[in-house]
């Protein structure tokens, strides 16, 4: 079991290194930060001073190593815009994002999973078709379209809710609704197909042939098996809690991590972007680890494999 986790943790660390490297390469190669921050009209000597101050005139591999060793020491640098520690800037935005993504996560699960199970159990019925059509719509409509649609209906037409900002709980309703609907659609589709797959398995027929009432066949035979694939997508959703609301935050002018990311990318504020990417990578990697542990818990076949190690 120990070796199994050592492998997983090693893989997680490698993922983070790759993400950090990727961020560095993409941002550094796509434009000169000095020009982006100071503007094309800045005098050459100011640009040179800026570059020297931030180490931008060192060889690229030196910058990379320097940057990397700083990250390893936990120094994530300062924002090039206002000189504050990048991590502070990011962390102070996290609560605002979680205020949207956490309730949305709860709604996704509470809506998507039961809808998927119900649709699978009543396959081909009118309700199944309705659930699937809603799910496909929620799946294919991009979140900014959905967000604008909701704004148009509830803020512009009906005037019930504000269209942006963060002044009261009422401001959170539309962003949360946008996030929940899309996620619930994904979950409903996924749960439905996992459930249909399981319901077609011979052991379900075995349970029925033993005289187990159908309701119990579903709860104690089908659901534990259908949970295994569903956990994968749930894990992914947990991983997006911190930065999964980029589009929605932008549309609703919600001052969360996602919006910070958009601004930082536009400004080539390297340290902030890298900081967010690192945080996202950490969140994804952690949620993957949780999923792996849950797999072992849900599926005795995997547990046995771990135990042999």
């Amino acid at each position: 079991m120990g070796r199994y986790f050592a492998m997983r943790i090693g893989r997680a660390a490698l993922t983070i290194v790759l993400v950090v490297t990727f961020a560095f390469v993409v941002l550094r190669l796509s434009g000169d930060p000095a020009l982006m921050i100071l503007g094309p009209e800045a005098p050459p000597e100011v640009l040179a001073a800026f570059r020297k101050a931030w180490g931008l005139d060192d060889p690229i591999w030196f910058q990379y190593l320097d940057y990397f060793s700083a990250i390893a020491k936990g120094e994530l640098g300062r924002s090039m815009r206002d000189g504050r520690p990048a991590m502070d800037l990011v962390l102070e935005r996290v609560p605002a994002t979680l205020a949207l993504t956490l309730p949305a996560f709860v709604f996704k699960v509470a809506l998507g999973i039961p809808a998927g199970i119900y649709a699978a159990l009543h396959r081909g019925s009118a309700i199944d078709r309705a659930v699937m059509m809603t799910a496909v719509a929620g799946f294919t409509v991009p979140s900014f379209v959905l967000a604008l649609l909701l704004v148009l209906i509830f803020a512009v037409q009906l005037g019930w809710l504000p269209s942006g900002g963060q002044d009261s709980w009422r401001h959170a309703i539309l962003p949360i609704a946008t996030l929940s609907l899309g996620g619930a659609a994904v979950l409903a589709r996924f749960t439905r197909s996992a459930m249909l797959e399981v319901l077609g398995q011979p052991y379900i027929r075995t349970a029925s042939s033993k005289g187990v009432p159908w309701r119990k066949v579903v709860t104690s035979h089908a659901l534990p098996n259908a949970a295994i694939p569903t956990v994968t997508i749930l894990g992914f959703m947990v991983g997006t809690l911190i930065a999964g609301a980029v589009v929605v935050e932008s549309v609703f002018a919600w001052p969360g991590v996602g919006r910070l990311l958009v601004v930082a990318v536009a400004n080539r504020d390297l340290a902030v972007v890298q900081c967010i990417l690192l945080l996202v990578a950490l969140a994804m990697v952690t949620s993957n680890l949780i999923v792996d542990v849950l797999y072992g818990f849900l599926d005795p076949r995997l547990r046995a494999k771990g135990a042999h190690a």
């Binding site: 070796r3 199994y4 492998m7 046995a304 494999k305 771990g306 135990a307 042999h308 190690a309």
Partner: protein, 328 residues
């Protein structure tokens, strides 16, 4: 007696298999010192349960995987190195048929195209001649050109296996390895394919290695039958004689386990214990834990395949040991 077309000398093959995802690797002896000879135009049947190594033997004989030890000679020549020109020439003379014809065919191509494929690969004949040959092959397996235009999905299981057979015969091979070719088919269709295979063998002078768990089918088509258990041949002899008078306790159990209409199960030998596990091969005779007649010697000493008269060879202390005692 003609010379053997295929000669297999003490081939062995082991894999390292892990228990679980990160378990310690253990050597699994899939095939362990197997020797066989198949004479031109004859059929050697290879029977055994899962894990007996019969399919691995077939793959080694065909050069699909190399043996760790021992060698295979085809028509007096050693197997050429994979990828060489000599290898391609040799491969055109030997073909394989598997259990699952749907898996062996490409669902997206008409079957005639797939029968033609080996001709294109080996560059045999002009395009027109290849077309004729495809028609000829379809007729040989008792199908019509109309069948050739169809896709595998539009054919029945028996028809698909005929297509696979036609494709295997395209390069006019001398030698065919058939691995459970009729096991997935219903009895009535199975009989059609077995008859067809026998007819084609007689017409074309084919040499066959016929691998199956089904004793009846093996007996029907084979001249010589070898019985495998955990990677070794435990008994080999002429087909009719072997099934009529099995000597090895395992062969006896297999023959007695084969149900027959009109016979009640009285006197059946039912082996105790689980099926053999190649990853945990017992010491001595691999069969001894399940053998109803095992003695102390069986647990320590591996019996070798020895002649017990005629063309029969048996690897069992109880059978060959008795011979030695008689002689003494």
């Amino acid at each position: 007696m003609s010379a053997p077309l295929v000669e297999v000398s003490s081939i062995s093959r082991s894999y390292s298999m892990r228990s679980g995802m990160f378990g310690r690797a253990a050597a699994v002896h899939a095939v362990d010192g197997v020797s066989l000879g198949i004479r031109k135009g004859e059929t050697l049947g290879l029977v055994g349960e899962s894990g007996s190594g019969k399919s691995t033997t077939g793959r080694i004989v065909l050069g699909l995987e190399p043996p760790d030890l021992g060698d295979v000679r085809f028509d007096g020549q050693p197997m050429a190195a994979v990828g060489t020109k000599a290898w391609r020439a040799q491969r055109a003379r030997m073909q394989m048929i598997f259990q699952d014809p749907l898996g062996a065919l490409d669902r997206r191509l008409p079957v005639a195209t797939q029968i033609r494929e080996p001709l294109d690969i080996h560059g045999l004949g002009t395009p027109a001649e290849r077309e004729d040959r495809v028609g000829e092959l379809l007729r040989a397996v008792e199908l019509t050109p109309a069948h050739g235009a169809r896709y595998p999905g539009a054919l029945s299981g028996g028809q698909r296996q005929r297509i696979v057979l036609a494709r295997a015969l395209a390069t006019k091979p001398d030698f065919l390895v058939c691995d459970e070719p009729v096991s997935a088919l219903d009895v009535s269709i199975q009989a059609q394919v077995v008859n067809l295979l026998a007819d084609l063998q007689a017409q074309l002078g084919l040499t066959l290695l016929f691998i199956s768990h089904d004793l009846r089918v093996v007996r029907q088509i084979s001249n010589v039958v070898a019985v495998m258990y955990l990677g070794r041949i435990v008994e080999i002899g002429s087909a009719d004689d072997l099934f009529a008078h099995p000597e090895h306790p395992y062969t006896r159990a297999l023959v007695s386990a084969s149900p027959a209409p009109g016979r009640r199960s009285a006197g059946r030998i039912v082996l105790t214990g689980d099926p053999p596990n190649p990853a945990a091969r017992p010491q001595g005779c691999a069969f001894h834990p399940r053998c109803p007649r095992a003695i102390a010697r069986c647990a320590s000493e591996v019996p070798t395949l020895s002649s017990v008269g005629g063309d029969r060879q048996v690897a069992c202390h109880l059978v060959t040991g008795a011979e030695t005692r008689d002689a003494a």
